[in-house]
């Protein structure tokens, strides 16, 4: 029976191929959408861990999370150094990582921070940053590169780099007279850390020594040694990552910061802000999922139409089968088996397409969106989706199968052509 169906399919391979292709495309699309959605989510949640509070100038929680952790968008305002010192003085605070953003190096963000960054920053499953080579910055003009920065710009330890003011990729005024030296290169983390140039807070100040009101002072080129001798205490930072001695104190400290009188500050819990972010993104996610479900639906409709269109020219085949003893139930099963086979082949082809696309696209996505796509077998959600598609394929097959069943009953033995 099944060999009959397979032989019959092979006989009509070109139309069958169309149906398979339509299903394969929709399967590949829905799998890729699901994959990117999941990986985006996990890559976001993987980016920061072990940080109890993020503090920044007063704005929205999501905005603060985006610019401090994901380096998306810009800060509305800075935090003065006095406020930073006050936060550090809070007895419940264990450690503080200051973050100073606003400069760039060839399209990569420059991040001013302290040694705490290397000892306290955690990502993923509470993993700390590791060095692939070199060491944390020691001097004002030392820089530590994220893995992607070093790889894409082909930098080695000890190379000199020039940092520009502003965050664009090109056309910016370079701080040419204060070259930085690569003191360390980090191991890949799959987070925005990979795409940052880390310098000390003093380094950020040093870059701007000859700058007044956002423009370089004409003719001024203070030698590096002279700059080292200056007081490079930063006046402000962009954000703070705060670790507490006890998580139990988190709401008390958050409240203390949010009600700080000297300056309007905002302290957020990263997890809560992420949740807020998801709520924002969910609409888009749902829309994306909706579109892929529509594509799957279109693929199934195509399957039905291919089978239905083939039915008329197959009436002869049905009549021969009937005259050779096949019952209408056989014909029904034949058509159902056919649609399930087509769907199954479509699913397998779709998976192949999906993994191929992921393998090819992963590098591009990593470079352009900083999103690391992981290679993984389909998980339970995926299997559920694939199972649902298969069942839908079976049901889609019953429509032409019923048609064939009825036709085989009414045609009887007459050979309608």
């Amino acid at each position: 029976m099944f060999s009959l169906a397979l032989n019959s399919l092979r006989n009509r391979w070109s139309t069958a191929l169309l149906a398979v292709l339509a299903i394969a495309m929709s399967v590949a699309l829905i799998m890729s959408v699901e994959k990117i959605r999941r990986d985006a989510r996990s890559s976001f949640t993987q980016t920061v861990s072990g940080t109890d509070l993020i503090v920044g100038a007063r704005s929205g929680a999501v905005q603060l999370l985006l610019y401090s952790v994901f380096r998306i968008g810009n800060a509305t305002n800075n935090i003065s150094w006095e406020s930073v010192e006050d936060v550090m003085a809070n007895p419940a605070v264990d450690w503080v990582i200051p973050i100073s953003l606003g400069d760039s190096h060839k399209g990569f963000r420059v991040l001013g921070t302290s040694q705490n960054y290397f000892t306290h920053y955690r990502y993923g499953d509470k993993r700390s940053i590791e060095f692939a080579g070199g060491q944390p910055f020691d001097d004002v003009f030392d820089a530590v590169l994220g893995a992607d920065v070093a790889a894409e710009l082909n930098y080695q330890l000890g190379d000199s780099i020039v940092v520009a003011h502003g965050t664009g990729r090109v056309g910016l005024v370079a701080h040419e007279n204060q070259p930085f030296r690569v003191s360390g290169i980090l191991k890949p983390t799959g987070t925005p850390v990979d795409r940052a140039v880390h310098v000390s807070l003093e380094g950020i100040e040093a870059m701007h020594v000859d700058w007044r009101n956002g423009a370089q002072v004409r003719g001024a080129a203070t030698p590096a040694d002279e700059i080292r001798a200056m007081n490079l205490q930063p006046k402000a930072v962009t954000a703070l990552m705060v670790g507490l001695k006890s998580r139990a104190a988190v709401f008390r400290v958050q409240r203390a910061i949010n009600t700080y009188r000297e300056e309007p500050l905002l302290a957020i819990l990263p997890g809560v802000a992420l949740q807020e972010l998801w709520n924002l993104i969910r609409v888009a996610e749902k829309a994306l999922q909706g579109v892929s479900i529509c594509v799957v639906f279109a693929g199934l409709v195509n399957l039905i139409s291919v089978l239905l269109a083939g039915l008329n020219e197959r009436r002869r085949e049905m009549a021969v089968l009937r005259s050779a003893g096949a019952r209408p139930a056989h014909i029904f099963r034949l058509l159902c088996f056919e649609s399930v086979t087509l769907t199954l082949v479509g699913i397998v082809a779709g998976l192949v397409l999906h993994y191929t696309a992921m393998a090819i696209g992963a590098l591009y996505i990593q470079q352009n969106y900083g999103l690391a796509l992981t290679w993984a077998l389909p998980n339970r959600t995926d299997w559920t989706i694939l199972g649902a598609i298969l069942i839908a394929g079976l049901f889609a097959g019953t429509i032409p199968a019923l048609q064939a069943y009825r036709a085989s009953l009414s045609d009887g033995l007459s050979q309608r052509l």
Binding site: N7, N11, R316, V320, S323, A324, R327, P328, A329, Q415
Partner: protein, 236 residues
């Protein structure tokens, strides 16, 4: 099977199409004996195919009874009718009898896939299914190498019809119904075709109901009749 009872017996049969105003068939008494060859003639539209469909248990008459091989067809339901057909009747049509995606062998063996009874008859004779298929091919004057021919569309129409006869005969069903099997053949091959059909029907001891509008073939049959002689329905 009682050898004295007829292979096919129709009694007071009336049939009309679901949307028809009057019966197309009205046969009071018609029978075919076991191993008898009957030539049924009639112009197109006279209800020949309808009669064959009734005997083959595809259609059910509104009234009257039809017995085939001692079995009252009206007592059979849906699937039983299909099973009865494949177990007892070999069918040959005018043209396009074969499935283009099956090999010659698979086409011939098709009824044995659906009928355990016919498969059993083959194996009871001490032959394997392939041996019997080959024997039938030779009997139909087709070279046995053709058995593995992948595409039946490579065969001539005459060869295709002979393959169809081989399929109708495999497993020796007691009744062969042939609905204008020769109309696509030229006159030379027609008679040879009928001779081959009869030789094998003799060997298998089966009755043959042969329908054609070509009266020139009738002479070789045991009995020749015109549908108008037995059908009292008025065809407009």
């Amino acid at each position: 099977m009682n050898p004295t009872s007829p292979m096919v017996a129709l009694n007071q049969v009336r049939y009309q199409w679901p949307n028809g105003k009057q019966p197309v068939l009205s046969i009071d008494d018609f029978s075919i004996d076991a191993s008898e060859r009957v030539f049924l003639q009639g112009p197109s539209g006279s209800g020949k195919t309808t009669l064959l469909s009734l005997i083959a248990a595809v259609l059910t008459p509104q009234s009257g009874s039809i017995h085939v091989d001692g079995c009252e067809l009206n007592s059979l339901r849906g699937g039983q009718r299909d099973q009865f057909r494949v177990d007892h009747i070999g069918l040959v049509f005018q043209q396009f009898n074969l499935l283009p995606f099956l090999s010659v062998k698979d086409n011939i063996q098709l009824p044995c896939r659906f009928s355990k009874a016919r498969l059993a008859k083959v194996t009871d004779s001490g032959k394997s299914l392939n041996e019997e298929t080959e024997r039938l091919l030779v009997a139909m004057q087709l070279s046995p190498e053709k058995i593995n021919e992948v595409s039946v569309s490579n065969l001539s129409v005459g060869q295709q019809q002979r393959v169809a006869v081989a399929r109708a005969l495999i497993g020796r069903p007691p009744l062969i119904i042939a609905d204008e099997p020769t109309s696509a053949l030229d006159s030379d091959t027609r008679e040879a075709f009928i001779k081959l059909l009869f030789d094998e029907a003799d060997a298998a001891q089966c009755a043959v109901l042969f329908v054609s509008h070509d009266a020139s073939l009738a002479s070789v049959f045991d009995r020749k009749l015109n549908l108008r002689e037995i059908n009292s329905a008025q065809i407009s």
